[in-house]
Symmetry: C2
Subunit: 217 residues, 2 copies
């Protein structure tokens, strides 16, 4: 299918390349057409990879991945344009990390709200599915990257049940996530976004960012 | 050793009984001596189980377990009395859950502070070790309760390295926690306390509260 990836950073790169490998046509979007990082990514990923503005990528994709930094997510979606987002699934893997007060980051929204909810409220015409935000991007697209012998759990949150099933079938399953828990509506994104502080501290304590969380049960 | 358990609820009961089984002498403390639940617990747990006020339990124990509800934790410690707490290890397993706005609960402190830090700041004479707060109390005292074939990870947070090692050796290890990550100082308790929202939602989604979190790596 045609997929728009919003964001040209490490997460957008990794997700975009993994989507091309799955056989999809992918357009990477950024603030301005001709972004150097987006051009380099497209050049490295063959005929099914292209680049353009956020609006170009949103218009192109039937499914969109939000790979922006959390603080830029709403801006990027406003630039993408409401008419280009209408009725599309937005897989939101961004986190509301606030680095302005130094390390480790805090969250600029949490507890009684979440970035996933902010996006869904601002753009009611899209179907937000929050997932993958609790692991490093290399683990996102390869669940086995954490361990050859064990597998973490992935969560999905969103108001539209069919969209969550699409995301599980078309992306999480091919990327090796065979234990997925549907937490419920988009308010449950508070829970997974609030895992970021322990993610950051676990990374700091172990020196290993390629871990995942498994619900042992 | 002599251990004081603060709190007479399900968590205090389960922790207290498990400590007696490990061979310790345990005094359960509550707001007033003669609390019915504390008397019943002591009667059910033999000669090494006794009850009294928060101050009695704190004075009795060389190690203390904070098993109060989060909202009552600081009050209980004030009632215990600074002189009874001096130089003791306080294993803080409480969570800052706020049920006042209905279910699911939010946290009354998070992100840039934590209940573990509030306790450490209010009582600098105690050595707070935050741990066990991310699982159901039956799992706290029996890591194998989640799964016969797999084991979750337990985190410890606290400013005093030796106290964390004592807690791991004397309690976490006997209770089956063979994968423990020391996250660092007490500020890292923000991370584990902020796991509560996803704990609550996972419980809701799966109908199973006897799970644990494993860091797959």
């Amino acid at each position: 299918m045609n997929i728009g990836v919003l964001g040209t950073g490490m997460v957008g790169n990794t997700i975009g390349s993994a989507l091309v490998k799955l056989g999809h046509s992918v357009k990477m979007g950024s603030r301005t057409k001709g972004n150097e990082k987006a051009i380099a990514w497209a050049a490295a990923n063959g005929a099914n990879a292209s680049e353009g503005t956020f609006a170009d990528a949103a218009s192109f994709g039937t499914v969109l991945f939000n790979c922006t930094k959390g603080e830029g997510a709403l801006d990027a979606l406003h630039l993408a344009g409401a008419e280009n987002l209408k009725d599309k699934i937005l897989i939101d893997i961004s986190n509301p990390l606030d680095f302005s007060k130094g390390m480790p980051p805090s969250l600029f929204v949490c507890n009684t709200d979440s970035l996933g909810e902010q996006i869904q409220r601002a753009f009611p015409q899209i179907k937000v599915v929050k997932t993958l935000n609790i692991v490093n991007c290399e683990v996102m697209v390869n669940a086995a990257r954490s361990s050859a012998n064990d597998r973490g759990t992935m969560f999905v949150s969103g108001d539209d049940a069919a969209s969550k099933q699409t995301v599980i079938r078309d992306f999480l399953t091919p990327w090796g996530w065979d234990d997925v828990i549907d937490l419920g509506d988009i308010t449950t994104a508070r829970g997974t976004e609030m895992m970021l502080p322990v993610w950051v501290r676990t990374w700091g304590a172990t020196g290993n960012g390629h871990f995942s969380f498994k619900i042992v049960r």
